[in-house]
Symmetry: C3
Amino acid sequence: MADPRFFTRAGPFTAAELAALSGARLADPARADTVAVDVAPLDAAGPQSLSFFDNPKYRDRFEASRAGICIVHPKHAARAPAGMTLLLSAAPYKAYARAAKAFYPPPAATAGIAPSAIVDPRARIGAGTAVAAGAVIGAGASLGQRCRIDANAVIGPGVQIGDDVAIGALASVSHALIGDRVAIYPGVRIGQDGFGFAPDPSGHVKVPQLGRVVIGNDVEIGANTTIDRGSGPDTVIGDGCWIDNLVMIGHNVVIGRGCILVAQTGISGSTTLGDYVVAGGQVGIAGHLTIGAGARLAAGAGVIKDVAPGATVGGYPAIPIRRWHRQTVALEQLVRKKERP
Amino acid sequence: MADPRFFTRAGPFTAAELAALSGARLADPARADTVAVDVAPLDAAGPQSLSFFDNPKYRDRFEASRAGICIVHPKHAARAPAGMTLLLSAAPYKAYARAAKAFYPPPAATAGIAPSAIVDPRARIGAGTAVAAGAVIGAGASLGQRCRIDANAVIGPGVQIGDDVAIGALASVSHALIGDRVAIYPGVRIGQDGFGFAPDPSGHVKVPQLGRVVIGNDVEIGANTTIDRGSGPDTVIGDGCWIDNLVMIGHNVVIGRGCILVAQTGISGSTTLGDYVVAGGQVGIAGHLTIGAGARLAAGAGVIKDVAPGATVGGYPAIPIRRWHRQTVALEQLVRKKERP
Amino acid sequence: MADPRFFTRAGPFTAAELAALSGARLADPARADTVAVDVAPLDAAGPQSLSFFDNPKYRDRFEASRAGICIVHPKHAARAPAGMTLLLSAAPYKAYARAAKAFYPPPAATAGIAPSAIVDPRARIGAGTAVAAGAVIGAGASLGQRCRIDANAVIGPGVQIGDDVAIGALASVSHALIGDRVAIYPGVRIGQDGFGFAPDPSGHVKVPQLGRVVIGNDVEIGANTTIDRGSGPDTVIGDGCWIDNLVMIGHNVVIGRGCILVAQTGISGSTTLGDYVVAGGQVGIAGHLTIGAGARLAAGAGVIKDVAPGATVGGYPAIPIRRWHRQTVALEQLVRKKERP
């Protein structure tokens, strides 16, 4: 089980309750009252555990598991050990994620403003919102309901934040409009000046950055990631994006819905990503490009041209991934040939 | 116009005033009294807007623009729409940057020390300087005039800061001497220990880091960038450098004047950059190298050798950029040849 | 000498004392009383300086040095200038590191809790520990003896910290167990949620992250580095690891003893590193890999396969380093051939 110093467990839940919570279907209604007290992986689960089986690579573990309740795809149900209560789902990992959240709900912060927080009297704080010790909230900022502002975070003047938003410890947000159910992790920087100046040997001249950062709903932004505000247009992050740690998003970048940006990726100014783009770790994307919807950028790719919708690219400079793989092989053969003349 | 929740607009300004502010020249003195109330891009500008035309790619927009006042290069003046008041400049973007700053001056912080800031009594705070809520300033630190220390920033003991310096929210500065008109963005880390130790299987032994970080005038340092202090010599950032977000500068690095380092670039210890070096995003530079003045390092370059003054390199490992481009083409052809035998 | 605004010098020390402090051996016992008042590099050292000679490249400087006391390998002793007091060591740099630490011990923080720190009454603070201004310490957190928590750092509920640990300004630590003598630099993020979700076009579903970060003894973690907590298993950092700035360590990563990770390296989730692995700057390692003990990953390497113990790899994708070098040469020749037909 999870370390009780850090996690508070809810439950127990019956199989019927877990079916409802997870969106899965109970295979055998007679098992509706089977009880789970915790979640566990297949090989550690016991009769009172909820587990799940999704990756076919772990079929052996599934067949040997002692889990009392298990979420599985219907096509694998026949392989379940005798006595296991099955919850059937076309998307077992997703169903498990929901059930696990029921066992370990995000910790509820005590609503209210900590005595050491500094909240400008002209800020608006919604009902049920918690502002932790040392947090600073500027004039005209507006926070929705049930938000959680962690210790020493800084929310600048005029920032608009929706409901159920979590701002991590020591994060800073300025010049931004943020939707509902957004999670901003510790140390994130949102809304600072973009990298905009007129280069000049006698001294580069700063160009005022007059846009904002606009973030949709259900977005996650990883630790120490930075998102600069627009220079005139806005920097925009669409609904449902997941952004990992130490990512850099430049000014005027526009990102569609549901994009996934893995750690240390960087997107230069004024580039646009369509919906559901996936960038592996340490991807770099040059400025003023268009990355089509559903494109996939392999980890480490250095993207210097537009990418068509649905295309997969890799390499530096990035090219269609199959071609990149062929180049890798060709280069390998070139060296082998030289070695054995 | 810029969102008034975040930006306060000054003006209006006459064409004559804008000429003076921007360093441009009024094409027709009879138009000196034309008034602009805001800035706008060519296609959104109206009769009371100031705009600019620099990139030839947007000539159509210039010719169709309704901007009341426009900053242009003299060679394009003849193409201006009838009725437009022209400000002539050999560097229109630079002139525009200055004018835009007049419309949107950096927000003035209220001078003084916020009640919740913790300023050591042995620190010296110059006239007109603002220290925001939760900021912490150590013993012997000295801040010049008209500085702005944002919320929860931490200035360590003994740090020396010039005039008109902005330290962003949640930034930390220690062991550093900083010039005038420097902007340090939120979350920047300056002056912590460099990565110095004697490697040893029985336990790496830390080497005391006894140098400082010395930063010139007119430097910008982007969000969450880290600059380690020297190990004995200093880490030095020259006048007028622009450093983007999430850049890493190791101990003893010496950077000349006016260098531009784009986001996520990393410079290993004891490397020297001459004046006006430009590094694209995600460049990596090995330690103990010399990068000559005016050198240009393409985005993603992995630099493991010295680079001559004025040279342009790219690739991993980095080589002269034309050669790298030829290699990219040759590799492409190698694969094509195999595909069509 | 080091700038006295930032560093407080101890000493002077006699050669005998320095031998004891550094683990070196006095070459001539008659010189036991030679005194050094400071450390200095070979070329700047004077009769009252302690210096060291390790890198053969600097032999000329050694032979010309005026250092009163010098730490050298016994094999170089014969080349010392007349009158120099020699301390002999098989590992001169390591011995120097220890001596330098005696001259410049880490600054002692005043034990106790600053009035503006916010320490939960259910936290436990060991004897001799200093909690600086604005630091926030949560319920159930436990700090050992002689720790130093710098300004505005945030320690979450339940975090367990050993003795002699330094937590830098504005760092955050949650869901973590930390050993003794660990140094966490400013802006480090430890223990936040890993990047775990079930991808789904109708909305990615977050998977609760139920593990911890477990850090051994004698670990250094550089500025603005991020270490996510495990998803169920823990994220583990072994004893004696040195981790540089802006490194990203994903959830469930397990790192052995004495590993060295240079700046901006990223390790994806569930990857394991054996003992004494060295990763150069900007290395990327894909998820679910095993990197064998003693493996070396060249700067910029993009590692997408397991690496054998003791192997050295480079390139993108990473391959054995000699092969990578040969490919680099082959590619160069391919272009040359085209140029001179």
